[in-house]
Symmetry: C2
Subunit: 428 residues, 2 copies
């Protein structure tokens, strides 16, 4: 009896590959609804931009590779329409049935746009699959659009805006909420807005779109309403959690024994709040896939959780966040204290650039519970230091003592992280 | 009665500035033996290189600034020749006496070259002070040397070699030990050698120099024998520790009540081994100065210690280390397990470069106890993540779960740090 994996992108293939390592003889079948597998979905905006020349560069492995090198039976164009756990089988669109002993659900996420008219027009795009990106690229080449609207200021929306602007289009982003990049933080949003405007991309927050035709743009990118794709799982009796994504334990097992979930369709533990969360990202998809695959093939691994770290490049500047903003922290029951500093990334005499570091701590426990870093240089390294501190439940006074690397080509003697920590300590 | 600070560079001025903040009315006197204060000593190689045009760019503050803006009496050309703690006074070379109530010793380090002939020749240089760097720059300009020998492959030696090579000289580094950059690690040394050779700098390890004249180079840089400058302190009855540097408690107080030490003349606690260590670096000088200044003026602060993090740029590539190498870990009583991986810094489709990550853990406790990162991109950010993990006594299995930022312009979906952690876990 086989391990069956539903979904052949990040989480699904991580699960299959890991299962193969754990059990060299297990029969493993991956069912992918689309025509390609294993593509770097996070690279799609760079293909649209033109920096990545061919979509094939985004494909990491082919079904043939998995079949030949890993003895994993990857079947494309194989959409699963139902799961019967009592019978331990999945049913494909073709009517074929595939029996399983263990099952990994990696059905990802999808855009559930409701109440917007005109989403089916040929000049309206999403940017979730390789096919989406190829369509968009062809449209840019053949139709030479001059204006674009992007609906949604999450990661994909902002990256799509950057890519289209670099193609010469006049771009406007419409965001229904007051926040961008899923960060409830007015200062962070203001910084994103400033950077977008510096590059002539308009950001209109608090604007809910109801009719795409009315907008009057040459092309429209829908990058809103991203939700976990759980319909198949729910119909099979798999429980979802408070976030709407599939609930799992720390082995990525669902309420059905032998059925695991991983990637964008599953919720995970938030290590700062201790509550379940849904933050669909490539890193988490790969990690949870790996753990699900190990446990579905006889291994015993654990996924501790996330602290919610992410970064996006907007015209060359990194905008990175981890943990909670002050507002988000309050929602989670913390009493946040926060500081934001702007400081040099290197000594003045060595081509310094500016960076903004925000730290959020819990008043009672002094624990760091969030942070953000904005900068041309080192935003990723600095956010990773904060993320590491969150993961180990470090207090601000401990963080302030960090022994970080210093040399003029890389950093100033007082790293912006330490300056921020010193400032924050004054509030205790 | 005053707070007197002996030494006016990083540690001394950090102490004075911090003391002023803690006590706005305290009389503070800084005694500096040289003609300038507050220069970025770590920037000297970049002035020699020519990247920093004027030595004045390296000067952060002038005595006038401190006098006027901070009400700190900074006296240059004021060499202290003795300290009489029973009388609570220091004696200057001029014979003048300066009474103190509290004293901060920040006398730094110096090169104690023994058994080498010819160190006084005009073509022989050190690179510790602004004056040294100006002499070297004038020599380069006026004498147009074509060959240079650098004695010592520590940070200053390697940075000086880089700077001279970029000035067109043929450069050879002579190092008495088998190691470079104070890292007992043959693989790390091999990587440094490879990078130096790629840029046509010869590295000769295991070669002890006895006569500089015999070497036959147009110029010679002495960058060896760096030792804590403790003579003044020792003569005053201040105790040194196992490293030869001044022993302090975690408030930076010496065995004499009211006398503090900070910077390159003092030893500090190594947070990985729990033993005292001497790692003279600008970051530690500033931090310990700050703590000494706070405690010498009525505050109460603590310096937890260091994990030994440092980085150096060699022709644009970062060579970073923290904690212990395997050999050093064995010397400290650990049973190290180690792994070294080479991996991409970004996805292949997004201008990936290679980086090498080494992790060292303790077999019994699984604690991370060291690491090194080499790379053109992100070596500083990645070493800082390892340093943060060391500081919080993180285990490898916890480290492997880190939620690091991912986006193609910044990093690959599996960060090299996580790949290294996965590899290392296999050894447990």
């Amino acid at each position: 009896m086989a391990l069956v994996v539903v979904g052949g992108v990040a989480a699904g293939l991580s699960a299959a590959a890991r299962a193969r390592r754990v059990d060299p003889r297990l029969e493993i079948i991956v069912l992918e609804k689309g025509p390609v597998i294993s593509y770097g979905a996070c690279g799609l905006p760079y293909f649209v931009e033109g920096r990545v020349e061919k979509s094939s560069q985004l494909i990491v492995y082919t079904p043939e590779y998995f079949r030949k090198e890993r003895q994993i039976d990857v079947r494309i164009q194989s959409r699963v329409t139902s799961i019967s756990h009592p019978r331990r089988e999945v049913v494909l669109e073709s009517g074929a049935r595939v029996p399983y002993e263990r099952l990994v659900i990696a059905t990802g996420a999808r855009s559930e746009i409701r109440g917007i008219a005109g989403t089916q027009s040929p000049h309206v795009f999403t940017l979730y699959t390789l096919d989406d990106a190829e369509r968009m690229r062809a449209f840019l080449r053949e139709r030479r659009p001059r204006t674009a609207a992007v609906v949604g200021a999450g990661y994909i929306g902002v990256e799509a805006a950057d890519a289209l602007r670099r193609n010469g289009l006049a771009v406007t982003i419409f965001e229904a909420s007051q926040d961008v990049l899923l960060r409830d933080d007015p200062d962070f949003t203001a910084a994103v807005r400033k950077q977008l405007e510096r590059h002539k991309v308009e950001l209109r927050t608090g604007e809910r779109i109801s009719d795409l035709e009315d907008l009057g743009y040459d092309m429209i990118v829908l990058a809103a309403g991203f939700r976990p794709n759980v319909q198949l799982a729910v119909e099979a009796g798999i429980e979802t959690g408070r976030t709407g994504a599939i609930r799992t334990d720390d082995r990525m097992e669902t309420n059905l024994r032998g059925v695991f979930a991983a990637g964008d369709c599953a919720e995970v533990n938030h290590l700062v709040s201790g509550r379940s969360t849904w933050i669909p990202l490539g890193t988490t998809a790969n990690k949870t896939g790996r753990v699900a695959g190990a446990n579905a093939s006889g291994g015993r691994e654990r996924f501790a959780g996330v602290v919610g770290t992410s970064i996006v490049s907007i015209f060359g500047t990194g905008f990175a966040t981890t943990g909670f903003s002050a507002a988000q922290a309050r929602n989670e029951g913390f009493t946040p204290v926060t500081t934001r500093v702007e400081a040099n990334t290197r000594p003045k005499y060595y081509a310094a650039t500016r960076t903004t570091v925000e730290l959020v701590a819990d008043k009672a426990s002094r624990r760091l519970i969030g942070g953000s870093v904005i900068g041309e240089d080192g935003a990723n390294g600095r956010i990773d230091v904060i993320a590491t501190a969150l993961q180990t439940r470090m207090r601000v006074d401990e963080f302030e003592q960090l022994d970080l690397a210093y040399s003029p080509p890389f950093s100033p003697v007082w790293d912006p992280l330490l300056i921020a920590a010193q400032q924050l300590l004054k509030q205790f």
